[in-house]
Symmetry: C2
Subunit: 217 residues, 2 copies
């Protein structure tokens, strides 16, 4: 590791998870969601450990002297070569579970006793809604966030909202097999409301980063 | 009805189902899929009964003297006001079943003993793939048509292909409850290959139109 600053966590070290849309920063107390430019202005003079899946920002971020890319620390047994580092961090946050990150895309990953078993990717809720809109103006609706899944819908708006939410739910429920469902991400809280006995925690990716730093730093 | 030509089916009457992308024509023997302009050149001098969900073409189609819009004949008990006429025609093709039309969008409708019970709409396979692409270039993949659903995938391409197909399948399987699954539409044959004991029939919408003409014409 870089000898300039130790890989121990203390109050002065910020953790960042850089996604395709937002820059998520954890200061040890709570999580802040910023655009890249705003994060740069606010935190470029702070010590910050980050992981990033945003390939456009790669070179720019590397130039910030006090920021350190810790992606190489994040790994899980059974991982695949192109697996996003944020998914890996999420998957090491607990020993077993189904991990759902509902952001621009929705990733669903299954971990059993510390071993990655595989996973799949769904469009994010916003991407789903845009997708219908691209097919026909008749299908251009706002997601019904009050939707009930008990009955089959009989309107276009509810038929689309049901298609999105019930299909995501049906496939995730198939993976449970007694495991805990862990939700995170911008739509994680909303999506988790359609499931029984789940955990929503916006810290999961940061918990995974902390685990990696403590174990390997 | 218009007295100009009787509402009986014979060898000279063509049926057309006009969608958002294609113009589907049934000549009593097989189904042809054309673009609107090509259908106009080929069939404007033929007697043709049609239903249409393509609002952009409305006024143009109405002008073709020998073509007749039979949408008003198509109805099913329990239908809702904005229900697409092609979905209604599909739903009256058999007395009971789950009817899946996999085209630009995928519509799934449940009918029990001639009564419409409700349904939902998913993006079409092409729209799904485009949706991932719009999120990130990393998610820009070609659907793996050889995908097996037995194991959780561990690559991005398969993770996306699995997300699309397995989520559609999971939600459709939930609706079965002993009913027959009837597939139609451009991707109907491919999609039906992931289900057990199903019927794929590209005539379903036309069968529904024929039923309506025979019962009410």
């Amino acid at each position: 590791m870089d000898g300039r600053f130790g890989m121990n966590l203390n109050d002065n070290v910020l953790l960042a998870d850089i996604g395709n849309t937002y820059f998520h920063v954890y200061d040890g107390t709570h999580v802040e969601h910023l655009l890249y430019e705003d994060a740069l202005v606010k935190y470029q003079d702070k010590v910050l450990y980050y992981i990033s899946v945003n390939h456009h920002l790669g070179a720019q971020i590397e130039k910030v002297v006090l920021w350190k890319n810790i992606s190489s620390l994040i790994s899980i047994e059974g991982e695949y070569e192109t697996m996003g580092v944020d998914r890996k961090a999420l998957c090491i946050s607990h020993h077993s579970g189904v991990f759902i990150d509902a952001g621009s895309a929705i990733t669903v990953d299954v971990v059993e006793k510390g071993v990655y078993m595989g996973g799949f990717i769904l469009p994010g809720l916003k991407a789903y809604v845009e997708s219908y809109k691209s097919i026909s103006s008749v299908l251009d609706i706002v997601l019904n966030k009050e939707l009930k899944l008990e009955h089959l819908p009989i309107t276009t708006k509810d038929g689309i909202s049901y298609g999105i939410i019930a299909s995501i739910k049906a496939l995730i429920d198939q993976q449970r097999e007694g495991k805990t469902l862990y939700f995170t991400g911008g739509d994680g809280k909303f999506l988790s409301s359609f499931f029984e006995e789940v955990i929503y925690d916006e810290m999961l990716v940061f918990n995974g980063m902390q685990q990696a730093i403590m174990n390997k730093g």
